[in-house]
């Protein structure tokens, strides 16, 4: 029972991070219609900026969030305002834009990953931070902190979406961009902000991951795939679905890891296949 409890707890902790990763991914597709294959690369970027600040100026990883999140947001905003907006304006149809933007993001994957490899090399690193167990349970403090940050980000984002004018504009655009445009929403600016926010979440997740797991410049793709699996589970564009999916996958991952770590990914797959057969549009899909 103790084992099971620990599995559930560590699963929840991992689930928090996965949820954050997936909400960001889902936001990019749900609103900006970019199936961002390079999402994981920005997780890697967040992780390495944190690592770099930690080793060079001894900056607390939590404090470094203040640097990584805005920085990666700006990168995302800029990418959308230049690259993806241009594609959107030239594409004859939405489906074509989705294809192009996915290919462009694949190019980004190459660029970001290889720039990082040139700067930081391809060896494994880790940020040693709060790596001590909390009394009573075998849960390292850094994981609890990571979960705490995820929850805070999640709540803030939820409040942002529901309470602010911009948040409402985002939700309107996700529902129907044309109508939102007619209602006076500056659609281009909303899309760029959404893309930036999505990447910023990846960056935050990356910072947190660097305090918990070993990091390499090649780590990105695996997280992109996890994000994809989560949004298949949760339904693309559904923020709630992404959150639930992330947590579910986190727990499953820990459960499988406990018995056979190499089977984790296969287990993810078995789950989506079962779910796809039962509900082809995801848990929360309409």
């Amino acid at each position: 029972m103790v084992v099971l409890r620990d599995i559930v707890i560590t699963g929840l902790l991992l689930g928090g991070i996965l949820a954050l990763v997936s909400v960001g991914f889902s936001l990019q597709y749900g609103v900006a219609r970019v199936l961002n294959v390079s999402h994981g690369e920005f997780i890697m970027l967040g992780a390495f900026i944190t690592f770099w600040l930690f080793t060079s100026v001894d900056l607390n990883p939590l404090v470094s969030l203040v640097v990584t999140a805005p920085l990666i947001f700006v990168i995302g905003w800029f990418l959308h305002a230049t690259l993806f907006r241009r594609l959107m304006n030239t594409a004859p149809a939405l489906g074509v834009f989705e294809g192009w933007s996915m290919l462009a993001s694949f190019g980004l994957l190459y660029v970001v990953q290889n720039l990082a490899r040139i700067i930081w090399g391809s060896q494994t690193h880790q940020v040693i931070f709060l790596n001590r167990a909390v009394t009573g349970a075998q849960i390292p403090l850094n994981r609890l902190v990571a979960l705490g940050v995820c929850v805070v980000v999640g709540v803030v984002f939820y409040l942002f979406l529901t309470r602010t004018r911009l948040g409402k504009a985002i939700r309107a655009s996700a529902q129907d961009p044309t109508v939102a445009g007619m209602m006076g929403v500056n659609i281009n600016s909303v899309l760029a902000i959404c893309f930036g926010l999505g990447l910023a979440m990846a960056g935050i997740a990356g910072s947190l991951i660097s305090t918990v797991y070993a990091i390499q410049t090649s780590m990105g793709l695996q997280y992109t795939v996890i994000a994809m699996i989560v949004v298949i589970l949760g339904g693309l564009g559904s923020i709630t679905g992404a959150m639930i999916g992330g947590v579910v996958l986190g727990i499953v991952s820990q459960l499988v890891t406990h018995f056979q770590p190499t089977m984790t990914f296969i287990a993810y797959y078995v789950i989506i296949i079962i779910l796809l057969l039962a509900r082809p549009k995801g848990i929360m899909g309409k």
């Binding site: 994809m228 298949i232 190499t262 990914f265 797959y269």
Partner: protein, 316 residues
């Protein structure tokens, strides 16, 4: 419909085709060097791209599973080449790819749009992980050695597979299944209510085109001595055909072949000139290419042509 009428255009293009084929068939006897490898590589991507186009272009289902079938070909070659003749190995690779594609197809082709794309993307990593796990349990090692073939043998094998791919592509596009695929792409529901067995058509064509991807993999594997899942199931193999098809244009089969040749050449040149920065530059080229000529090399011309043709038509 004038299906068999030999128009002037048709004669010219047939003649060009014959010249190209003769040139390709003679190439390894003229030169033994780098050119043979380069052209074999172009043919490999031509196979992958044409096979991809046959299913994905008319239906609009964007598959990223190419690397899965291609990588399975690698493993078939690693296991069977040597004990079995090369030709048999290539056929087995095709059969394995067909069966796996059938399974994937039955599972995923009820998904539409982007869900299908995501699923096929992840399927590559699934196959990768399953192979890794099987290797861990069965051989306890990560990689395998492959019985190699000469550059010349691989070249001719690829040429044969390319011709088979093109023939199949022409046959499918000309047949009733070509029309069925296009109808499915335009309006799946209406296609079903007009008597098309939508699921079977999609799954069968998807699996048939995957055969050639597996075969190409088996041939290329014999030009390497060592493979592991990371090499065999490289995501890039899934994306490149999409890119090449987009830039070549998907309206006919010449476009994808040209796209494949051009991009293989760019890739090879980058790789030899800047081995360290190759991947970085390739990414930049990819982004720039999409930004500045998204309609593709031939696509641009085709669009203009369509406009000219459309202009002459009386509005209905």
């Amino acid at each position: 419909m004038g299906k068999f009428a030999l128009t002037k255009n048709r004669i010219v293009s047939l003649a060009i085709l014959v010249v190209i084929l003769v040139f390709l068939a003679l190439l390894p006897t003229i030169t033994k060097g780098y050119l043979v490898t380069l052209v074999a590589d172009m043919m490999r991507y031509a196979v992958l791209t044409v096979a991809w186009v046959v299913f994905c272009a008319p239906t609009g289902y964007l598959s990223l599973a190419t690397a899965a079938f291609y990588g399975l070909g690698f493993y078939v070659a690693a296991v069977f080449n040597g004990p079995l003749p090369f030709a048999v190995v290539i056929i087995i690779a095709g059969v394995v790819a067909f069966i796996v594609a059938l399974l994937i197809g039955l599972l995923t082709l009820r998904l539409r749009g982007v869900y299908f794309t995501i699923f096929t993307f992840a399927v590559v990593l699934l196959v990768n992980n399953v192979v890794l796990e099987v290797e861990r349990l069965v051989t306890g090692t990560r990689g395998r050695f492959v019985e190699t073939e000469t550059a010349q043998t691989a070249f001719y094998a690829m040429l044969v597979v390319l011709i088979a791919t093109l023939l199949t592509a022409v046959l499918i596009r000309r047949s009733r299944y070509g029309l069925a695929l296009q109808s499915i792409g335009e309006y799946e529901e209406a296609a079903a209510h007009s008597g098309i067995n939508v699921v079977m058509t999609k799954v069968l064509v998807f699996a048939t085109t995957s055969v050639f991807m597996g075969m190409a993999g088996a041939i290329i594997a014999t030009r390497r001595t060592y493979i592991d899942p990371g090499i065999a199931f490289n995501m890039t193999t899934s994306f490149l055909p999409v890119l090449m098809a987009m830039f070549g244009g998907m309206g006919n089969l010449v476009g994808p072949v040209i796209g494949a040749a051009v991009f293989t050449y760019i890739g090879e040149t980058l790789l030899t000139r800047f081995p360290d920065l190759y991947m970085l530059i390739f990414g930049v080229v990819l982004i720039l290419a999409i930004l500045f000529m998204p309609a593709g090399i031939l696509g641009l011309g085709q669009q203009l042509w369509r406009k000219v043709k459309g202009g002459r038509r009386a509005p209905a």
